[in-house]
């Protein structure tokens, strides 16, 4: 098995050639790993999901393929399945140094056993249970067979993502609460349990946390999510591209640019549409502004969670200024619906460029001033340093993304490792820390904020002229597209398949929170219960983006 789908380029410039050769080498390494494990593969050439590679394997080899990937240090990034009417197609996404390899297999509709990836990759745990609940595929050898996304809104034997399940479902008057979920029990002298949620004590999304503690020390934390499951994957089916962009913009309200960009990029790749250079630039402007606003909000909220109100109000003030600027330059405070299939729905005027330049300079000097104050404040340091440590090895094993991963030594950033326009022309610096505590996550955010400001400046300098939206090309029936975008929380993945007449047949998206939520369960262990809010905020997983 030595076939690869990438040709070694002869005439390309040295840097690109090195990159391409690295790509071939890495894929060959993966193929050789499969070969050693005796796994028969057939790489699809040309790949139906460029720039990702698609590798068909037999369903019986599914589990061993993950083991081989793990051995070759490939990161497990996500899994999705599709009911195609006549069979079920399962895809798992692996990543290594910016190369995406998608493993693909087929199951008969009535034979739904598949070896699990979870014994080899922790990150596969919940996504596989999600698929089990929504499509009825049983993962053999999964260490945790409990339901996950399914509470009580639909019956055990019904699978909403199957084609024969009506999107309206067959709801009863009131869906009963999920009382009988088998939480892990801790027993022993002076062990007690704290149930929290789903309705939390603040202005925050719903979810349930079950702590076992001795005194103030957390022995175990179990997350129970899925309360915000809105059936996004199902209701996406049958929409047109514009409708899907609207929905994707509401997967997670604070990542509206990230998710809309990922969905549009996947649809554009499926349709073979190239967006204008100006549109790509404006998309990046919006994405970096989203990053700035959310990091400002998080920095303030982290200060607030340790009782440092000064920080909360100062960062909140700066954030509000940027939100108002969004309103005046782009017409929406949170930038919803600015990214549309084929480009963007809003252009940037010369006066807006001037305005943004000014506000970048202003925010820079404000941050300089605040940095000095924060740095000198020992009460902040007292609560942040050494709290909620996620060790580097654990972060790597989990495949932690975004600022959570970077605070624990993970350098991956889609903008740098698998760049897409316009980041392929920019140098994206990725800040890392190795301590993995709340303090590291705070400072990684701060540094990312500074880097985003520099990127914004470069984007404004290099803003090309031209159209901001290309007219839509009708994708052929069955066309599929895959996209990876760096949202402010980290890598967002998206897969789209079209049916006939420009209609979406399958939409799958993976928010970075899916990977980072399990990290919270680990990093809070051994900390005191009152530090949980700041640990939670330092990870800041999206509930809506996770539950879908």
């Amino acid at each position: 098995m030595s076939e690869t789908s990438v040709e070694k380029p002869a005439g390309a410039c040295p840097e690109i050639r090195d990159l391409m050769i690295g790509r071939v080498d890495r894929l060959e390494g993966l193929y050789a790993g499969f070969d050693r494990a005796g796994i028969e593969i057939s790489p699809q050439a040309p790949s139906p999901l460029p720039p990702a590679e698609v590798i068909e394997i037999k369903s019986s080899d599914w589990g061993r393929a993950a083991a081989a990937g793990r051995e070759q240090n490939w990161r497990w990034a996500g899994v999705w399945a599709e009911d195609r009417g006549y069979d079920l197609m399962v895809n798992a996404c692996l990543e290594n140094h910016g190369i995406y390899a998608i493993l693909r297999t087929h199951l008969a509709c009535d034979h739904t056993q598949l070896p699990s990836h979870a014994p080899h990759y922790w990150a596969a745990d919940r996504p596989e249970r999600h698929i089990q609940d929504l499509l009825g595929i049983c993962f053999d050898g999964h260490p945790d067979p409990r339901r996950w996304t399914r509470h009580q809104a639909w019956d055990e034997g019904a699978y909403p993502l199957r084609k024969d399940f009506p999107a309206a479902g067959s709801p009863t008057d009131t869906s009963p609460p999920d009382r009988d979920y088998p939480f892990l029990k801790a027993q022993g002298a002076s062990v007690y349990e704290i149930p929290v949620g789903p309705v939390h004590a603040g202005i925050i999304e719903p979810g349930h946390f079950r702590f076992q503690a001795i005194g103030e020390t957390v022995l175990n934390l179990e997350e129970r999510l899925g309360y915000v499951h809105k059936g996004i994957e199902k209701i996406a089916e049958g929409r047109d591209p514009t409708g899907l962009a609207l929905l994707a913009g509401r997967v997670s309200g604070d990542s509206t640019v990230g998710h809309a960009w990922a969905a549009c990029m996947a649809m554009e790749r499926a349709a073979g549409l190239e967006i204008p250079a100006r549109a790509a630039h404006i998309r990046a402007l919006l994405a970096e502004r989203e990053r700035v606003i959310n990091h400002l909000w998080d920095l303030g909220a982290l200060c607030n969670d340790v009782g440092f109100a000064f920080g909360y109000y100062q960062f909140g003030r700066l954030r509000e200024q940027w939100l108002r600027e969004n309103q005046s330059h782009f017409g929406h405070r949170l930038l919803m619906d600015r990214i549309v299939p084929g480009g963007v729905s809003v252009d940037v005027t010369a006066s807006a460029v001037q305005g943004m330049r000014k506000s970048i300079a202003a925010l820079r000097s404000e941050l300089d001033e605040l940095l000095t104050i924060l740095d000198a404040n020992s009460s902040l340091e007292d609560r942040f340093l050494g709290t909620g440590i996620l060790p580097t090895e654990l972060a790597s094993a989990l495949g932690a993304l975004g600022f959570v991963g970077r605070a624990s030594g993970q350098t991956f950033d889609v903008r740098k490792d698998a760049p897409y326009a316009p980041y392929d022309r920019l140098r994206v610096r990725v800040p890392t820390e190795t301590q993995g505590d709340v303090s590291s996550r705070f400072w990684v955010r701060y540094k990312e904020l500074r880097i985003a400001l520099r990127l914004l400046g470069e984007l404004l300098d290099g803003l090309p002229d031209g159209e901001v939206v290309a007219s839509w090309l009708l994708p052929h029936e069955g066309a599929e597209g895959f996209a990876a975008v760096e949202g402010w929380r980290g890598e967002i993945l998206c897969f789209v398949r079209f049916g006939a007449h420009n209609v979406i047949r399958r939409y799958w998206t993976r928010d970075p929170s899916v990977v980072n939520w399990p990290a919270l369960e680990k990093l809070v262990l051994g900390n005191i219960v009152p530090d949980f809010p700041v640990c939670n905020k330092s990870v800041n997983g999206s509930y809506s983006g996770h539950d879908l």
């Binding site: 639909w154 479902g169 709801p171 915000v228 809105k230 059936g231 309200g253 003030r317 949170l334």
Partner: protein
């Protein structure tokens, strides 16, 4: 520490005077006209100076929560009207509910409503809360908040701006 005080001094007071909404923008214009200036008075007299809101996310995308949070920033500073957000429905006069109500949150929302002492009012916030929004009705979503608990006021928008939220609040209080 001196730097910190210096920064506070330099930042000054940014809290804005909220403009009274025009007749065209809100349904209950007559009462809203009076409400802006009378809000504090109403809160002082009817709610003993303190109007408590319990916010419940019943399935939103988190967009509405971001804007509700913004009500507490220094520009809007909703607490100056005696309005504050509380941690328990037991302490609340008003439930501010966002999202299409997911079926998984349906029972939790009903129980939160029951746990709120009378008299109580419910505000449905955002397009999703008002009519189901982008998500509508499905196997996983009950749609509008009014499909699950009685709603007294709807504040549309995706998400509504802090100003719209404030105007909605004024219009609800202005009814009494």
């Amino acid at each position: 520490m001196l730097r910190l005080y210096g920064k506070i001094f330099k930042t000054g007071v940014l809290t804005e005077i909220v403009h009274r909404p025009s007749r065209a923008t809100l349904a209950h214009d007559a009462s809203v006209e009076q409400a802006g200036e009378a809000l504090k008075e109403i809160v002082d007299c009817r709610f003993r100076g303190s109007l408590a809101i319990r916010q419940v996310d019943a399935g939103s995308c988190n967009g509405c929560e971001l804007e509700i949070h913004a009500l507490n920033n220094v520009y809007y500073d909703v607490e100056r009207y005696g309005v504050h957000f509380v941690a328990s429905p037991r302490h609340a006069d008003i439930l501010m509910v966002t999202g299409p109500v997911s079926r998984h949150m349906q029972a939790a929302l009903q129980r939160t409503y029951e746990a709120t002492p009378n008299p109580k009012w419910v505000i449905a916030v955002g397009d999703c809360g008002v009519c189901g929004g982008e998500f509508g009705l499905s196997y996983a979503s009950c749609g509008a908040v009014s499909n699950v608990i009685p709603v007294d006021l709807a504040i549309p928008g995706c998400p509504p701006t802090p100003l719209a939220l404030l105007q909605g609040l004024l219009s609800l209080c202005g009814r009494f």
